[in-house]
Amino acid sequence: MTQLDSYTLAHFLLTSFALFTLGMIGFLIRRNLIIMFLCTELMFQGVVIALVAFSRFHHNVTGQTFVIFVLTVAAAEAALALALVVLLFRRKATLDASAWSSLKG
């Protein structure tokens, strides 16, 4: 039990923030659509860790219940994302995000 105590909230927040920024950077840099989606999932996971940490810190369960909802929403988005990616792939045989930039101005 005490193992946990030696890690203060800051550590958890640091990891979650790290995950979040990693996800964001990945989203901005990677060209591939699926990878970009995965990066958003990564950002979600960052959030989840933070939630759990806060829940533990505040000694109440709301954070964790929030996590459950976040995960379900992430799943829904995943379904939708992949459906879209399939739709796009069928139209243009590439997953490169920059292929889709005809609308501009």
Partner: protein, 672 residues
């Protein structure tokens, strides 16, 4: 006998102007216009005579308004700026009314004959009656603003009548020039009125005169008033800076030149200064300036008249010169002299113009001196009438012109000697030189036209009376029956009768009217008390100046006539040889010292260029500036457009950057 009927004096001609305007509508009504106008003007003349006993002398010292003012209705009352349509009658007004309506009637009678057969017959007489309305309003105005109304009203009528032959571009240009130059003078006059109101808080004539009379310590405001009013007077009476419009005004029909540009309108300036004499006395420098300008103009115009070849132009410059005399007279506080010369000048100048008109009428519009000679056989009466006029103009002893011009020169001399100021003596000498020149050019014209071998060329106007066809040659039907006269002929008696009356006036007005006129002037606001005291003890090398001046001026006049006789009657080749030797000077004078060209180059052309510049400026800079302000958002848009290049990552980057900026802002805000 009250002053009430005086109200009708201006409004009768106004009514006739309206009726004549209606006459223009129908061809058949046209002939009604002349009798209407003549009747109206004569009625005004009679009314003036009728009312004269009721007119009391006016002394600016104690302004009792009652006997003088007749009010119609309140025109503009704003706060204490009170202006109402009211008439002020005093002996000076009476004199002017007599001149205006008297000469007006005579000219109208003449014009009835002269203008017969002209398409714009009714329009002409509408213009003349409107002019009389404006002139009488000007003369009888109770306050300065009503005076200003009359002032611009006569300017308008001169515009309409100069531009009567509107088919001729030169007439239209002359009319426009006259109105604009008058307007420049009117601006000076208006600013004078503003200054008077801002210093005296009133524009009513009587109050202004009495207030001006009581001012002991004039401030700078007071000093400016006369100079501004002077600008207006010089504009209207065609003095040095603003005289250019009068010679061109000869484009109008001759009766117009006679009535407006010789007898009545141009004298408005002299009347204004005479009327507002106490105001002009506010500044010690005002009246001397008037005198100097008057004298210089007289000399200047006389020299130009020497070498002109157009009959009417000569008389135009002579009018400017004679007006110079009147200003000289008023300038030396001899308002009696000034007004007397105005009175006589109205007669003989109108006579001269009308006789010149008869010559023009007879010779189908021919006015060039070099093409006319020896008309005495063809037109004896006109020759005789013009002789009387010329004698009066030249100042031949015992003619009207002699008495009035001599009175002015004498007063100038007296003032010069008594105040020991060389200025006035020099002005007197200038006056004498001008008198000589006047005599010379007057008789140069007379000898050329009537004496010598009888040969003349007809002018280019087929239709003698109407100049309208000269330019247009439009093939409109000759609706009015005109007998084609191919040779110079005497005028019908209808036109010569008024000339005879004028001739009588020109010859004998001097003798009989002097005392009557002096009485009128001294009883009015134009009475200059100072002049009399000087008279007593001035002597010109022992003799009484007035007597001496009579001899000198008559000698000068006779000398001038003799010189003209020698050069232009007896020995014309000698004149040509002299002209040939001084060809440079003659052409300079003939081209009027190129003053018109100078004005055009210095003022008109630059202004027009400035206008063009402003228009270009307006389209480029002003519109450009406002369009630039309008372009700023579009510029910002063009700057931001690269952020919308369509790439998904680009947008992600943009969002991240945006968040970074705003996060920075929050940190800043939290920090403080």
């Amino acid at each position: 006998m009250t002053l009430q009927p005086a109200i009708l004096i201006p409004w009768l001609p106004a009514l006739s102007a309206g009726l004549c305007g209606l006459c223009c509508v129908r061809k058949s009504w046209r002939r009604l216009a002349a009798p209407l106008t003549i009747g109206a003007i004569f009625a005004s003349f009679l009314l003036a005579v009728l009312v004269s006993p009721a007119v009391k002398p006016f002394d600016p010292a104690e302004p009792d308004l009652a006997p003088h003012v007749v009010t119609l209705f309140s025109w503009i009352h704003v706060g204490d700026f009170r202006v109402d349509m009211a008439y002020f009658l005093d002996p000076l007004t009476l004199l002017m009314l007599m001149v205006v309506c008297g000469v007006g009637t005579l000219v109208a009678v003449y014009a009835a004959g002269y203008m017969a057969g002209d398409r714009g017959y009714a329009r002409f007489f509408a213009g003349v009656s409107l002019f009389i309305f404006a002139m009488t309003t000007l003369v009888m105005a109770d306050n300065l603003v009503l005076l200003y109304l009359g002032w611009e009203g006569v300017g308008l009528c001169s515009y309409l009548l100069i531009g009567f032959y509107y088919q001729k571009p030169s007439a239209v240009a002359a009319a426009k020039k006259a109105f604009i130059v008058n307007r420049i003078g009117d601006l000076g006059f208006a600013l004078g009125i503003f200054l008077i109101y801002s210093t005296f808080h009133t524009v009513s004539l009587a109050e202004v005169l009495s207030l001006a009379h009581h001012v002991e310590e004039p401030t700078t405001a007071h000093l400016w008033i006369p100079f501004l009013l002077m600008l207006g007077a010089f504009g209207k009476s065609a003095q040095i800076p603003l005289y250019v419009w009068l010679p061109d005004a000869m484009e109008g029909p001759t009766p117009v030149s006679a009535l407006i540009h010789a007898a009545t309108m141009v004298t408005a300036g002299v009347y204004m200064i005479a009327r507002l004499l106490p105001v002009f006395e506010l500044s010690p420098y005002a009246l001397p300036t008037v005198a100097i300008v008057g004298a210089v103009t007289a000399l200047f115009a006389a020299t130009i008249a020497l070498c002109q070849y157009d009959l009417k132009r000569i008389y135009a410059y002579s009018t400017i010169s004679q007006l110079g005399y009147m200003f000289l007279g008023v300038g030396v506080l001899s308002t009696v002299g000034g007004m007397f010369h105005l009175f006589t000048h109205a007669f003989f100048k109108a006579l001269l113009f009308l006789t010149a008109g008869s010559v023009m009428h007879a010779l189908a519009g021919q006015l060039d001196l070099r093409k006319i000679s020896g008309l005495r056989t063809r037109m004896p009466i006109t020759c005789l009438l013009m002789l009387f006029g010329c004698l009066a103009l030249a100042g031949f002893p015992f003619t009207a012109g002699f008495f009035s011009k001599d009175l002015i020169l004498a007063d100038v001399l007296v003032r010069g000697l008594s105040l020991h100021q060389p200025l006035y003596t020099t002005l007197a000498v200038v006056g004498l030189v001008t008198a000589f020149l006047t005599a010379f050019y007057t008789f140069r014209l007379w000898f050329r036209v009537f004496l010598g071998p009888t040969r003349y060329e007809l002018g280019d106007e087929h239709h003698a009376a109407d100049g309208a066809h000269a330019a247009g040659h439009a093939a409109d039907a000759h609706d009015i029956k005109i007998e084609h006269v191919h040779d110079a002929h005497e005028m019908p008696w209808l036109m010569n009768a008024p000339l005879v009356v004028l001739a009588v006036g020109a010859l004998f007005a001097g003798l009989f009217c002097k005392s009557w006129l002096a009485g009128l002037v001294t009883q009015s606001s134009a009475a200059a008390a100072a002049a009399h005291s000087l008279h007593a003890h001035a002597t010109l090398c022992g003799y009484d100046p007035h007597l001496a001046m009579e001899f000198i001026s008559s000698a000068v006049a006779v000398l001038g006539i003799a010189a003209a006789a020698y050069f232009h009657w007896l020995n014309r080749p000698a004149a040509d040889s002299v002209a040939a030797r001084y060809r440079g000077l003659v052409s300079l004078l003939n081209h009027k010292y190129y003053v018109d060209e100078i004005y055009d180059a210095l003022i008109v052309r630059p202004l027009r260029a400035l206008g063009g510049l402003c228009f270009v400026l307006d389209r480029l800079i002003v519109e450009g500036l406002v369009a630039l302000v309008g372009f700023l958002p579009r510029l910002l848009g063009l700057g931001l457009q690269p952020t919308q290049q369509g790439a998904l990552q680009g947008y992600g980057l943009g969002m991240a950057a945006g968040i970074a900026i705003l996060a920075l802002l929050i940190a800043l805000a939290l920090g403080t």
